[in-house]
């Protein structure tokens, strides 16, 4: 290398270049770098984000399936209940609906019934394929209305020579019944069934027998074919209603229901730092033992799974303020200090459990010191404010069921958290030397960019539920929340957030 090349190389490669206006990049460069770094961080966090999204989707899916099953179970219960009502009350319903018929309509109904009756009385092959007796009497069970779908004419055309079961006179007799008779058409239907079984003779008597005020030929019938009296039907209906009501009352306790409410309380934040931070004069050497105090408030939704178990989800905002301490060495050169102010400006990293804050400050020399370079063991105290959003998903278990006004419960679950603000302000620097004073310059730093803002926790709580009347209830609980994911990591060091909550909530059952 000749002299020419050597001069160029030394000038640009080996010599320290003093910062000046021409070789200092503009402010916009750092902003652009920050943006680029932020994008890179987001890119790195994508796998975690998708994992979280997948877990949330799975949870939502399971919850949806649970709700669907609950609805189906509820519907099935109601259907079963309705089934009892339908089967046992159908005749009563028929009677009620017939009250609304006009005399003409009643006549028509009776005509139809007569036809049906004729149809039933027509000897034909039964569903089971067994032939009826030649005289038209049925052997076996009385046919139900469902099995009589063909008209009398159709049946008559199918079976030659069989007379109509009800004569014109009988039909006319039915038509001529007074209104009182028509009020008891429920009994008619029962009677009609019986008519089908005994042929023409019984029909008149039975129909007459079920009519109030007319003597009953019940004794002519076997026990199972005897019609009900009106009082018996009333009793039956009453007992059915009673049974349904009592079943409903029993099931109300177990019915699934939604509730919503507000929750608030006090929070104690304890940031757990793993590995040792006690290397001499290292940036990590800080005291993090102070606890941060704060509060939280939010919404809580719950879904009652059964008498002992609730599922609840919520949205909680938290805010806590605390401080941490950090020790570091600072070198103060007397000969290189600012000659006018007798000071040095510093730009230091301040270690906190939530990451590193960048702090600018000055140390001012207020008296003479021995030596040119002084090594100061300075204590940094910084104050931080944290804001966090959490989405707790928990199961609440009532070991003693919810029978009385007060019910103890245990809650377990997970929380998905998002740190929204972590601000760190350098409060003071104690230079540890009486000849120097501290002067803050700039130290307010939002640290969220270097934190894992989304973090997961596990929760366990003990509490007491109190019924307040109406659909309202209140919960008082003590909750321990343990951080499961790291919020900050640097080399072997990492920190997690653990919290303690004392909370009170009021909740109303919505439906």
């Amino acid at each position: 290398m000749d002299r020419f090349d050597e001069i160029w190389r030394n000038r640009f490669q080996q010599e320290e270049i003093e910062p000046s206006l021409w070789n200092t990049p503009g402010e916009n460069v750092w902003k652009a770098v920050e943006k680029g770094v932020l994008m890179e961080k987001r890119r790195r966090r994508k796998p975690f984000f998708f994992l979280l999204l997948g877990a949330l989707a799975l949870g939502a899916g399971l919850l949806y399936m649970g709700l669907q099953n609950g609805e189906i179970a509820e519907k099935t219960g109601l259907e079963a209940e309705n089934g009892v009502t339908t089967s046992l009350q159908s005749e009563a319903f028929e009677a009620e609906s017939s009250f609304e018929l006009t005399p003409e309509e009643t006549e028509g109904t009776l005509d139809d019934k007569a036809f049906e009756t004729g149809e039933l009385m027509t000897p034909k092959t039964s569903d089971a394929g067994e032939p009826s007796t030649p005289n038209g009497e049925m052997e076996g069970a009385i046919p139900t209305s469902e099995s009589t779908t063909t008209t009398a004419e159709e049946v008559a055309s199918e079976i030659d020579g069989q007379p109509a079961a009800i004569s014109e006179e009988q039909t006319a007799g039915l038509r001529d019944q007074p209104p009182l008779y028509r009020e008891n058409t429920s009994m008619q239907s029962i009677g009609e069934s019986l008519i089908s079984a005994d042929g023409g003779f019984l029909s008149k008597n039975i129909v007459a027998g079920i009519t109030p005020g007319i003597s009953t030929p019940e004794k002519l019938l076997p026990r199972e074919l005897r019609p009900f009296s009106l009082s018996e039907i009333d009793n039956l209906q009453e007992s059915i209603h009673q049974r349904i009501l009592s079943e409903r009352e029993i099931q109300t306790e177990d019915l699934k229901s939604f509730g919503a409410g507000l929750r608030t309380g006090l929070a104690v934040w304890s940031t757990s730092v793993n590995s040792t931070y006690r290397e001499d004069l290292a940036a990590f050497d800080f005291d993090f033992s102070k606890r941060d105090l704060g509060w939280f408030a939010g919404l809580e939704l719950s879904y009652k799974l059964n008498s002992k178990l609730d599922f609840s989800a919520g949205f909680i905002y938290e805010r806590a303020t605390g401080s941490s301490r950090h020790n570091s060495s600072l070198k103060y050169g007397v000969s290189t200090e600012d000659q006018e102010s007798h000071s040095h400006d510093y730009s230091e990293l301040v270690a906190t459990p939530f990451g590193f804050a960048s702090a600018d400050f000055s140390l001012i020399r207020n008296s003479e010191v021995e030596g040119d370079e002084i090594e100061l063991l300075a204590d940094f105290e910084s104050e931080h404010t944290i804001e966090n959003y959490s989405f707790p998903l928990t199961l609440r278990y009532f070991p003693l069921e919810r029978t009385g006004n007060f019910s103890p419960f245990i809650t377990a679950g997970v929380g998905i958290n998002r740190l929204s603000v972590v601000q760190n302000t350098l409060k003071k620097v104690d230079p540890g030397h009486t000849a120097f004073d501290f002067k803050p310059l700039e130290s307010n730093t939002n640290l969220t960019t270097e934190l894992q803002q989304t973090h997961i926790d596990a929760r366990l709580s003990l509490g007491l539920n109190a019924k307040l009347g109406g659909n309202w209830s209140a919960n008082l609980s003590i909750e321990y929340i343990r951080g499961m994911s790291k919020i900050f990591e640097s080399g072997p060091y990492y920190s997690r957030i653990n919290r303690g909550w004392i909370s009170i909530s009021a909740q109303r059952q919505l439906f």
């Binding site: 002299r3 020419f4 090349d5 001069i7 160029w8 190389r9 000038r11 640009f12 490669q13 010599e15 270049i17 910062p19 000046s20 021409w22 070789n23 200092t24 990049p25 503009g26 916009n28 460069v29 750092w30 652009a32 770098v33 920050e34 680029g36 770094v37 890179e40 961080k41 290292a282 940036a283 990590f284 730009s347 230091e348 990293l349 301040v350 990451g355 590193f356 804050a357 960048s358 730093t445 640290l447 960019t449 270097e450 900050f488 990591e489 640097s490 080399g491 060091y493």
Partner: protein
Amino acid sequence: MNSPDAENKLIEAVKGGSQAAFEQLYKRYKTNLFVVCLRYAKDRSTAEDYLQDTFVKVYKNIEQFDPDKGLFEFWARRIAINVCLEDIRSKKLYTLSISRAEHMEFNESDALSKMSTRELLDMIKTMPVGYRTVFNLYVIDGFSHKEIAERMGIAVGTSKSQLLKARKYLQGLITEQVKVLNQNHG
């Protein structure tokens, strides 16, 4: 925090994702790396773009930095040079001059050593891109002609001839400046 140990702590903090530590690193090396970018760029604005890309790449690749293999500054300089060359190559900015290098006697080494860094940089910037890039790579940043040829996609001979022409160009500029100065003083 100027000792190698303190610097390693800072780099460890950056590796841990600390934005504040990275800002400290930026503050510490922005001047030297910006000068590297200024040497390769045609103007200040382009140099700022190079510097921005350099620091983003430093952040992306900080895990690969091994303090046992060398100083951080040298590692970061390499990244800055790569960023500059990448841009120069992708935009085909360099046009190799075909003018013949004339033999010229250079006796102005003293005058050269007295010039400020900024004056030297201004002279570098007046050179055609091809000259400038090869001169920077070979003379200042210590690359061999083989490495330059590979990086720029040119023949080794071309690299050598470009360097020769760049030297003569700069020597001519310096000689002219010295003449002007002598005339002004005379």
